[in-house]
Subunit: 336 residues, 4 copies
């Protein structure tokens, strides 16, 4: 489904080379100040243009189609719409019979019986992360409006195996190839008790949302995969005060699937951009022959560079939903 | 929520030291042969008793309370109930004010205002994986009933950093500490096209389900975190036939969030058992003092050893749901 | 699906002549006092035994299988189980090929490919209203725990066309036939603002729940079908104070799908019991012949008599869910 | 929530006097031919302009924003957008403190803390039925694409108590008041077996959807409220052939909540338009005084006249969803 969330619920739509992309947000509380300018900083962070990102330029101006009146949310569904403007579809139509390696071209063709919009990935395009970022802006507002403001920050840990990002990019440029990376996200200020057992643990919901970001292939919380080589006495975080603070944070702020009041920390791996400048091979579905393949269109050398703001957005969307759900439950510590 | 799935939908309930644990399965097709004996092999695989697992012994006999008639599913909700028998609650009641490190004791107490069933982890207990395994048995039957039977196999890759599992256990025994591990799951025979963009990718749904297994702290598909250090030309899997077969399988059988007809492969990290034999420290919530803590009760030295059958179960549950959803869509490749 | 509700979510299971019937309740807040005795008064109201109801007698003793600890709800799923005891399945097995008129026998057989549990209506049986009543008891507790306790009362308006119920029953007994009736439900003490546009209006959610009660064939709110013959100036309820009180209540307490602070009032029609003592005709599916049919088993002459407590239950379930959802929104009137 | 459906799922958004109204449709199968012209006939049927309807004129031209490519559905979300053009908001802004009788003005103000878009009913406006009609057009296409095409027809039975509609309108004009009516909807060609026990009966789902249509205050299936005064032997529909045909159709084509192969028939009552030309009284929230009230703006004398196409739309939406769900189950009659 193209919807996510239980109370704060988003639905995205659109294609890379259709009229545009957008999002409907249901369940946003009324009374939150909201104007077009609020979206611009995060949209700018997602924009290409920096070194290593695609030269495709879009105005990416959000149009508020519903749910906002007199510069405040109304409680009714909020729709944000982005027109596609800078489209070169011909690039894609030529290669219809030659599925691009690493892309969804082939599986989409099979799944939808050949009716999929194949131009630029269609509905599978990374362009769909634009409305995600817009929804994230609203979710962040919800998270910052409570007693204890929640702050979410994502940053790149490494690209191409290098923590010095310039060095990573040099590697890619030298190899004339695309590269992947690792992005870490941290949320602070969260109350104890978010997450709904058994299946809606914080980890379950975040992982669900995070894997919707194209190119993400793994996620780990706290010590993550390192935990496989730790002893229990080493991994366990000792409680040191009645507010839940622990001496270490190997759990990444989540125990039993529930936030424990320490910073929520997780990392995701972003695979190298599928559209590499390097010549590859793929099957021509018409001829049945394997043939050399050269990417057309404009692409990112390292898509991980654009992931942080998207990762923050989906994290905010999940946490805002959990915050609204949690309002129904006693969250105060009842005393010892 | 305690439910998972859209068409094939399971709801679990129960506590470690209450009357029992169980599962309701809604949306299972009618006409599937089902008797109590069908559950026993997977239940036996989950049972403790092997070296490195808890000595707590339960009969774990499934009682079918609804949805089965004349040894076939009826199309109505199937309820499987397991009585708890071998309960030593006193072990837990004593330590009410001393939250066990690594466990949900503290967060559950805050979240539920002190009303949680704290005995043995209550609803957070690993015992809840028993009804999951039962639901998995039914899901596997659905997956095996189609034209192309789907086979799911999970296995331990390493414990305590050792691929030789005996060696890993020796390490734990020598250190008098618990250890973690990595478990890999593979599903073969899947059709092309499972997964529902944008948010219900195969990766999203599997990760969602997998993080409900207690102690899982990370998941990666195909090359996973290694992808961060690969070039695009290296990571991309080249299509080599019209059935979707690729030369390599770095994607782990999922592209664009959709199965591509190659084996689905993913790995999870299982943290070391929180209940380690080693003395730890924690906060006494009554006295406000940090004090030494020694685990009571019966526990697994390496909980990862019992994870494979549970991992297979949640994988089967997710895939069965996606298979039933996919029946509504054209899945035949329309010809080139 | 066999589930209802978004936050306070119930799932029912079981069959008339299987091991029993039950309900799992997810999302119930922690800390609500709950013991077996709390269920008994409403269960007694649903019980047959009165004049005009079936002589089948069941102990109907609720067994709490999960979610309650030290006589309070824990926040985890609550499971209530009722064993079937007084079963005479042979009555039904004989008539397998002769679908009972007015019952689901034929459609169930087609829908489930012949695998349905056909004994006594199986999962379609009115016996499934027993766990509904149990869930209703818990919902009523939630509704009574707020600042403004909500009271729900259902009563029979007429049976067999008579407001004097004895007279209605005499009619049925004289005609040796079953009869229907009309039941009215009123909820007072509701806050203004329950109901979630556009599709989850109070009317939508209540109607959804109410039509799950077997034999209900219609529902109307406030003036209901009489509204078709009223003028607008007559039907409109004039606001008379800032708390929302209106001079009349033709809307039945719901405007724009949202509670307006006046009593919620609706009526449902209950068709005559399908199992009438009178000889009927139906098709023998084996012979293809139409043949006379005489009901076997024990049945209610007027099932409407047992509906009020069930109607209260589903009303309470829906309203409790809406109350929990509404806690996320500003519900105070902001001043004029 | 502003979404409806499980597989074929629609989400509506927009306000009467904002930029426009629209709908996102998720889960529509790929490959359905779809162009703008397909929407025009049903949109025309909903349009005002006929005698007794509002003189507000809108172009109501559907703009397809996503999900359609080369004149076919792609399997991705379909978004249909309608711009609002002929807006006279000043009419409404003046009366902010004077809630219109029969409208949601007051409850919306309380529910959303004064942040609601109050112009012309905002998100509560009947204008939201326009995207519903658009979604209905697509749902009808799904219903007509199967082996057995399903046909849905709604018609007005009476307005103002008159089956001669002109006579009903004369009555309203003479009284200078608005009037209500009764609309009947029939669906033929449905397979046996639609509807999902226990809570998703055909009646539950249809009633849920139907009560989202503004002004609907009651629904009844088949004999409906007349069933209260029938004997069981009279109300029961005798099965007369193995395809499920019954001699009578008092059940309205639904038994046990499941379609039985006979025509689905139900009726709804539509209250008189709240905006009557007659002078009414209401509370001035600012002054606290009750004062005379005269409707501003352009309105329908009898909103029931515009309901049939909307009723067909929501019926088609519900049935299309059930058809897609039913594809997962054996629906063939297994032989006797």
């Amino acid at each position: 489904m193209n919807s996510l969330g239980r109370i704060f619920r988003i639905s995205i739509f659109g294609e890379s080379h259709g009229p545009g992309v957008g999002v409907v947000i249901d369940g946003c509380p009324a009374g939150i100040p909201l104007v077009v300018d609020d979206f611009l900083p995060d949209i700018a962070r997602r924009k290409p243009g920096a070194r290593g990102t695609t030269p495709r330029q879009e105005a990416d101006l959000p149009i508020i189609q519903s749910g906002v009146f007199q510069q405040h949310t109304t409680g009714s569904p909020i729709t944000i719409w982005f027109e596609n403007q800078n489209i070169r579809s011909a690039d894609y139509e030529k290669q219809r019979d030659v599925p691009r390696p690493g892309h969804a071209d082939f599986v989409a063709r099979v799944k939808y019986g050949g009716y999929e919009d194949y131009r630029g990935g269609g509905h599978f395009s990374g362009r769909l992360t634009l409305p995600l970022v817009a929804a994230g802006v609203i979710a962040k507002k919800i998270l910052q409006s409570g007693d204890s403001p929640v702050d979410i920050q994502a940053r790149i840990l490494e690209i191409g195996g290098e923590t010095d990002l310039d060095k990573g990019l040099e590697k890619a440029i030298a190899a004339k190839d695309s590269i992947g990376g690792i992005v870490e996200c941290t949320a602070t200020g969260l109350p104890i008790g978010l997450g709904e057992p058994f299946f809606d643990s914080v980890e379950s919901l975040l992982a669900h949302a995070v894997f919707s970001i194209p190119a993400v292939k793994g996620i780990e919380f706290g010590a993550g995969f390192r935990a496989a080589r730790m002893f229990g006495s080493e991994h366990n975080d000792a409680l040191i005060d009645t507010l839940g603070k622990t001496a270490t944070n190997h759990a990444g702020g989540v125990v039993g699937g529930i936030t424990n009041g320490n910073p929520l920390i997780f990392r995701v791996v972003v695979k190298p951009t599928s559209s590499t400048p390097k010549t590859q091979h793929t099957l021509n579905l018409r001829t049945g022959e394997i043939e050399p393949f050269q990417v057309k269109g404009r692409h990112d050398l390292c898509i991980a560079l654009r992931v942080p703001v998207v990762l923050e957005a989906v994290t905010a969307i999940v946490l805002a939903d959990l915050m609204l759900i949690a309002q129904q439950r006693p969250t105060r510590y009842p005393g010892v």
